[in-house]
Symmetry: D2
Subunit: 378 residues, 4 copies
Amino acid sequence: MKRSFASILLLTVLTFCGAAQNLSITPVRIPDIEGYHTLKCDFHMHTVFSDGDLWPEFRVKEALSEGLDAIAITDHIEYLPKKAWLGSDRNLSVQIARPVATATGLILIPGAEITRSMPPGHLNAIFVQDANALSKETWRDAVAEARKQGAIIFWNHPGWKGQQPDGVARWYDEHTEILGNGTLWGMEVANHTEWYPQVLAWAREKGLGIMGNSDSHEPISFEFSRRGIAHRPMTLVFVKERSAESIREALLAKRTAVYRENEVIGDSLWLKQIFTHSVAITPGEVATTGRKTVPVTAVNSSDLTYRLERVSPTSVLVFPEELTIPAGQSTVFGVRPSADSLSVNGSVTVVYRVKNMIVAPDRSLEVPLTFRVRIDPK
Amino acid sequence: MKRSFASILLLTVLTFCGAAQNLSITPVRIPDIEGYHTLKCDFHMHTVFSDGDLWPEFRVKEALSEGLDAIAITDHIEYLPKKAWLGSDRNLSVQIARPVATATGLILIPGAEITRSMPPGHLNAIFVQDANALSKETWRDAVAEARKQGAIIFWNHPGWKGQQPDGVARWYDEHTEILGNGTLWGMEVANHTEWYPQVLAWAREKGLGIMGNSDSHEPISFEFSRRGIAHRPMTLVFVKERSAESIREALLAKRTAVYRENEVIGDSLWLKQIFTHSVAITPGEVATTGRKTVPVTAVNSSDLTYRLERVSPTSVLVFPEELTIPAGQSTVFGVRPSADSLSVNGSVTVVYRVKNMIVAPDRSLEVPLTFRVRIDPK
Amino acid sequence: MKRSFASILLLTVLTFCGAAQNLSITPVRIPDIEGYHTLKCDFHMHTVFSDGDLWPEFRVKEALSEGLDAIAITDHIEYLPKKAWLGSDRNLSVQIARPVATATGLILIPGAEITRSMPPGHLNAIFVQDANALSKETWRDAVAEARKQGAIIFWNHPGWKGQQPDGVARWYDEHTEILGNGTLWGMEVANHTEWYPQVLAWAREKGLGIMGNSDSHEPISFEFSRRGIAHRPMTLVFVKERSAESIREALLAKRTAVYRENEVIGDSLWLKQIFTHSVAITPGEVATTGRKTVPVTAVNSSDLTYRLERVSPTSVLVFPEELTIPAGQSTVFGVRPSADSLSVNGSVTVVYRVKNMIVAPDRSLEVPLTFRVRIDPK
Amino acid sequence: MKRSFASILLLTVLTFCGAAQNLSITPVRIPDIEGYHTLKCDFHMHTVFSDGDLWPEFRVKEALSEGLDAIAITDHIEYLPKKAWLGSDRNLSVQIARPVATATGLILIPGAEITRSMPPGHLNAIFVQDANALSKETWRDAVAEARKQGAIIFWNHPGWKGQQPDGVARWYDEHTEILGNGTLWGMEVANHTEWYPQVLAWAREKGLGIMGNSDSHEPISFEFSRRGIAHRPMTLVFVKERSAESIREALLAKRTAVYRENEVIGDSLWLKQIFTHSVAITPGEVATTGRKTVPVTAVNSSDLTYRLERVSPTSVLVFPEELTIPAGQSTVFGVRPSADSLSVNGSVTVVYRVKNMIVAPDRSLEVPLTFRVRIDPK
């Protein structure tokens, strides 16, 4: 690829355009739900302005190409290994990325990572006004400043072995302190290639928000795609409209879930809706004679491959014990009466567990599927 | 996988259900067009009842799994290498496949391949009544019998090196003969991994129908997928409704196109509509100031990756010379005024050539894209 | 593609050649071990001669294309749903496949599946002389006949839900009976997409042989590849030479392991050798100063992506806690002294657990890696 | 991923280690040839220090991960859009990348792009001593300075539409000038996703060297992999040993070829050896009776999928007209006598054209395959 001198004037908006002057975008097919749009967000990543390897504008282009709606750039406050070349203005990375974000419609949220030893570990502050002001002697002062600026603050990667050597997320008095004074909004349940079941349990106990973010330092295509991981972890935010303000409102209302690899993690309220808006099952009626099998089709319009196992025992109808409904595909399965001489006119509900929709450390979403049933004996 | 004795009673319909009792279906995302449904069909394939390697029921299951709407099983009339074990009843393959097709809704069209040396080479007859009656001494008698049964007859793989040693499709007097007496409906422009530009030219000159079929002998997943070819060649049939009768009506009206690898081949009338129903471009208006670039988004909901090159020269707006709109993805590209101090309020049409939509041996589809334009000088 | 009449004379050997007259072969990169060749075998599959969908010759071609060394065709003795068309000669499937196997060098072992309700469930007999003679009133008579013919007999899919409704492999008195009288050689630890940890435990307790087989009914590319499973399950047999006789000798000596998805299952004796013949680590010496990190490279020439976790605690050198060595690739990792002022001249052994090499239901292989070490204080 | 404070001390060498403290390397399987090692090199790429998006150290890590042996970082001399933040020291990008290259063994060659309008267009200078000194008023002065420093100078992307609006590479007097005075070493035949057949013709006519380079501005995984292009274009350099000096010697001797997508471009001397060191054909003798087909196996140990078509007509043996030997796989094909009653004892040579090994704009490599032959009449 070559960039001509002529393009320098257009650089602000054209930077998002690659060699062939265009950028392909892979949509993230997770559906909207009742009353809310489902925004795909990544609230944790780095650039050359701390210890990342990428120029800030590229973070915008990369997120656009992956179908994201919003990102936060969150360079470290306390760790600036490229200071000798780039200085220490902690607002620069967001400032440089801003024009491209505006021109292309990606929502860019200013952030920073308060990077301290454990406890309390690393905390992200997003919706900050002035990241430079977060450079303080103590973590308490940094957090207080972020709060003063109206930031939303969350604990990053609570189970990271680098700070929790036995690999188990451990809750410290310092976390109780910032939870108690209303400073702590929530935690990352998923970070990069890891996820922390214990943290999901805490979130439920303590009423905290949850996120899943990339914490990317290198290109996403280098960190994830080349290892065979189809997408970065994302925070799904259920918003009233597509704007930074609406994301803020939704975060404060704790309307989030986490999308990592082929899993969605979060409250059953949201997960059930994602499932029902992803999968359409037809026909809604099972009409048969004797023990004749009836084909039923489940059409999955999402990027999730749903893996279901039957929870309820066989009643008048025999449903498959296991069902895989591949992403963007359909599945045809057979349903048949459980005995030879049934005569039924009513409805049947079978309950499946969606193994890759996680609502608690050891529990997956259960979805009831109801069919009208009419069986005539042979 | 294991199949229990109990399942024997259910075999007719359950054969379509795999190990986990379900069958996943990959949709073929080629859109319907104005006034017609676009059926995905393969009118040429073999089973163990001639020189294929597969049981007929599996051909139905395989086609379903690949999102096809209709197939014809077309075993050879004259070539039955497994006769010692399976006999020579040429209707059996379709009869065996029929119950599974009925149970699952796949349209199954009875066919046979009249397999003679060149000229006239191999001819397929579909919509036959009794394939056994096609076993005749001469090819003229076989063709006459097929015609008497109301079959639609087409010339298979006219450019196949096995019968056209120099690899060029050659038209013989015998083809003139069956064209002249109304017996020849059309030809395969594409067969297996080959396609024949010359045959497309003939179809246009002589008003013949065109098809693209797999001519599969082994599993499709073995012949195509494992060689990195995403799908078998298909005949797209533009029908009024999803039925065998409607396919017959559409074939007689020559409403077909060919879908092979990442190409569609056929009349511009159909191809233009497939393009416009696949790709949505927003916004429809380019409003800008000075020479500021405006982002335009093309959303491609089809399985075709469209490869466009600009045909019309730059007028008031500069459009990209080349545009790739990947399958199931979007592309953002920049459009900008061609000079500094333009003042425009009107509309602009840019013409692109869609390189992978082929309307003649050396010509691709041209599509005009029209935008409302409003340019204010800076 | 098309098969010409001329080819009929060559059919016996040419059937293995596809459209383009050639067949591509994907090698299975699992290395030979000390003193033995590692043959890749599948001892359980079906054809149209029982309830499969494929002609026997294709099973040979398919196995060749996947890099296998040997297969057994094991059609059901008692279940012949296509009898109306193909008769009930249970030796035919192997007889038909034999010439292609001979011409192409694939080792073809005659087999049959004695298909009874549980107990004892389904039993495979391979190296049979006459499969028809296995058609007996009682399973005991069938098994006795197989034994009389010198067959090797194993219990198929002991944990299959179709016969073990709670999904747990259960051992019956009938199994004790055939174990006691020396009839039972072993069991399938893996079958199709399932594997049974309990069965691995039994094998170790009772000194039985283990296998992993496909139990394929449809094309392998349809059952596995299209679901994203890279290869069928295989039985690795450690032989003295590449022949049917040598496979028999190795089976009787219980020199087997199982290769499924990205896992190898079996005795640590074999697994350790597969690992050490797959992965080369250089340099063998760590020479450094102060706490300077030294890069170490692990080159993996196999198809297995090894997933390692460190077992031994940090001593004088800090090794990574987790290491992934992708199939056919290399991994570079850093090793560094654990403290600032060490002075060492000796050797260090770090022990890793290879998570995807399974030696017992809950235990993975441990491999010690030894390095010469020379650390100079700064 | 998180980077701890502790790691700052180790940054120099540890930067090449990702999240899990290790880096996977995909080897490029293009074989060494007779007397030379085949190094995989990319002599054209950008970083944040001109108009690229990546920190220089990452260019090293990225190249290592893709199995490259050597890179040149060639930031623009005249185009520094990030000057406001990074200054204009044109030696910095190479200086910053140097320690990681040294620690990991990647060969890093200092370079710069003299970026002028056409003619002469963009010229790369590699093996420069001081890139800052290349910042001159005129291109002639810049080139003279590069030459004074002992640089090797080549013309980048001669067919780039940005500078050759009709898309055809055009040779100007200025190129004759630098060719005549010995300044111009050669040209890029391939750049990014383009290649220029005309430039290959020039190289042969004028005795110039050829290269294929990425000209990457963004991550390789973003520019190539996500578009479905398996690897960046590379310059293959045939060296006596793996060192910068040896690369220089080989370049001066014009021992290079180009590897792009699934093609190798260059002199038949090199290409023939790459083919013969990639593909082993067994057996070397065809011994048969009557017209019996004999299977022959071609084992391809390289990353190139070779596409062959037969050039020589059939003599006593019939060889396949087309042969595809997939990367890292084998192909079995059948060879048979051309008539019934031959009696031969001698040798036969069949010539194939390797369609994806390009030796001139319209010509591919031809390789003769010789077999000992013994045919007995039936």
